[in-house]
């Protein structure tokens, strides 16, 4: 955000830098059950993003002081690999990933029936292998698939989706250039069945109308992404070829 691009992000035909329409998503690919040792896992390829999510638990929460006698605690850990971005990222948690881990944990807590597993923790590891803007929403999308795969009861499969504003136009699912040189980025987590919102952040400036517009766009796209999630989950049990 903030920087001004010395090139046009939206061309004269209204197409974006990668040739998409303003309300078009990047290509998405999802796979469930990619990590053998985890209770549940998923891989999401979203444009240039490559993300693995793995779920462990519910298991007894340690250290003991984080246990809640009434419900499970969801501990998401968002982590970017050192090689996930152009310039080597210094490994380890930083200000940004600590914040994202927190907001992702809270978004996931809102869909999981946490009260069924008192004193436990459900650990969600989100590893960004390759980043291309919108990793937190792709991470949420992968994490909810992994939770469903782990057999954890949920109200809905949560979907992450971003919208934003680029060169004065409200667009869906920003890519890296649009994220860096655009005017605003609005990552959201949506419950597709009810249209409820589990996460809403905004970086940059937009008017109220633009924000509402962006949110509507993301909610519509969430339904599309949700269909892909359902397909990925059912795919795992459709074929009978498995290697154990």
């Amino acid at each position: 955000m903030g920087m001004k691009a010395d090139f046009k992000l939206i061309d004269d035909n209204g197409l974006r830098i990668d040739g998409r329409l303003p309300n078009q998503l990047r290509p998405l690919r999802m796979e469930v059950g990619v990590v053998q040792r985890a209770n549940g896992s998923a891989f999401v390829e979203w444009g240039g993003n490559k993300i693995i999510a793995a779920v462990y638990g519910p298991r007894e929460a340690y250290p003991k002081h984080i246990q809640d006698p009434n419900r499970a605690v969801i501990r998401a850990r968002y982590n970017m690999a050192a090689f996930s971005v152009d310039e080597r990222k210094r490994p380890g948690p930083d200000r940004r990933s600590v914040e994202l881990s927190k907001v992702i944990s809270e978004a996931l807590t809102s869909v999981v029936f946490v009260e069924r597993f008192p004193r436990t923790s459900i650990d969600v590891y989100i590893e960004v292998l390759q980043a291309d803007a919108g990793t937190r929403v792709a991470g949420i999308t992968a994490a909810s698939l992994a939770l469903a795969d782990a057999g954890i009861p949920m109200r809905d499969i949560i979907v992450g989706c971003a919208a934003g504003k680029v060169d004065g136009v409200v667009v869906l699912d920003l890519n890296k250039e649009e994220d860096n040189y655009g005017e605003a980025d609005v990552p959201m987590a949506i419950l597709p069945r009810t249209g409820e919102i589990a996460l809403l952040q905004m970086d940059g400036n937009m008017t109220y109308e633009e924000l509402t517009n962006a949110m509507d766009m993301a909610i519509d796209a969430a339904k599309e992404i949700h269909e892909l999630q359902v397909k990925a989950l059912k795919e795992k049990y459709r074929g009978d070829e498995h290697d154990y």
Binding site: N39, G40, G57, P58, R59, E60, P69, V111, F113, F117, P118, R119, T120, A148, D149, A150, G151, I152, P153, M154, R155, D156, I157, L191, P192, R193, Q229, V230, L233, K234, Y237, D240, H242, Y244
Partner: protein
């Protein structure tokens, strides 16, 4: 899961289940509609709509027979991993031996496997298990495999038909814990056949006519 010859539909969390019936296990109600809470298969019986999860951890129930592994020793109890979210303590009063204080290691040590019964569970998830009942004991030798606890009923079959068939065909001794842990003892090739058959049951748990297919597999022999 009766003799219908079709594969049940797989539902995902939050998917509406358009079947008349009372909400059973694995479903929740919102605005008078039924929704699945799990990735699983729909099962209607006795007027209840249930969703049987395809994966997930074992939630202990009182009276279940489980196979557990000793993970820790304490002066008055053992700590047993029964594949549930919680470890289960096994108190010295719940074993058929007279154990002196601090002498737990002489009877069961870390890594030993036991066939135990869940004697109590409370709402906080705490679990107690016991060995003081006929047939409960330490399991020696043998081979252990783990399956998803939701598939245990398929491995056992209707009133034990599936497991009996496996035992008869392979001459193995098999114990199936409700927690999805299975102990097999017998000749090596018998064990291999049992494991293959159980993996097949696990893979095709959501289809019908499974017992016949497993029978066919056992009779065909092991290629």
């Amino acid at each position: 899961m009766d003799e219908e010859k079709k594969m049940r539909d797989i539902v995902v969390p939050g998917e509406e289940i358009d079947i008349e019936g009372k909400p059973g296990r694995g479903v929740f109600v919102e605005n008078g509609k039924l929704y699945s809470a799990y990735l699983g298969i729909v099962d209607t019986r006795m007027g209840y709509v249930n969703v049987i999860p395809l994966s997930g951890c074992y939630m202990p129930k009182k009276g279940d027979r489980v196979i557990g592994k000793i993970v820790d020793l304490a002066p008055m109890n053992w700590v047993v991993d029964i594949n549930a979210p919680y470890y289960a303590p096994l108190h010295v009063n719940d074993v058929p031996w007279r154990v002196e204080f601090g002498d737990t290691g002489r009877f069961l040590s870390i890594g030993d496997v036991i066939l135990a019964k869940v004697s109590n569970v409370n709402e906080m998830g705490q679990v107690w298990i016991t060995l003081k009942e006929q047939g409960l004991r330490k399991l020696e030798g043998g081979h252990i495999i783990t399956i998803s606890p939701s598939k245990v009923p398929r491995v056992i079959g209707k009133s034990g038909s599936m497991i009996q068939m496996l035992k008869d065909h392979t001459n193995c001794r098999i114990y199936v814990g409700q927690n999805g842990t299975i102990w097999i003892s017998g000749a090596p090739d018998g064990i291999i056949t049992v494991i293959k058959a159980i993996r097949m049951i696990e893979r095709e748990a959501h289809t019908y006519g499974l017992t016949d297919r497993v029978k066919e597999f056992l009779e065909r022999g092991d290629e």
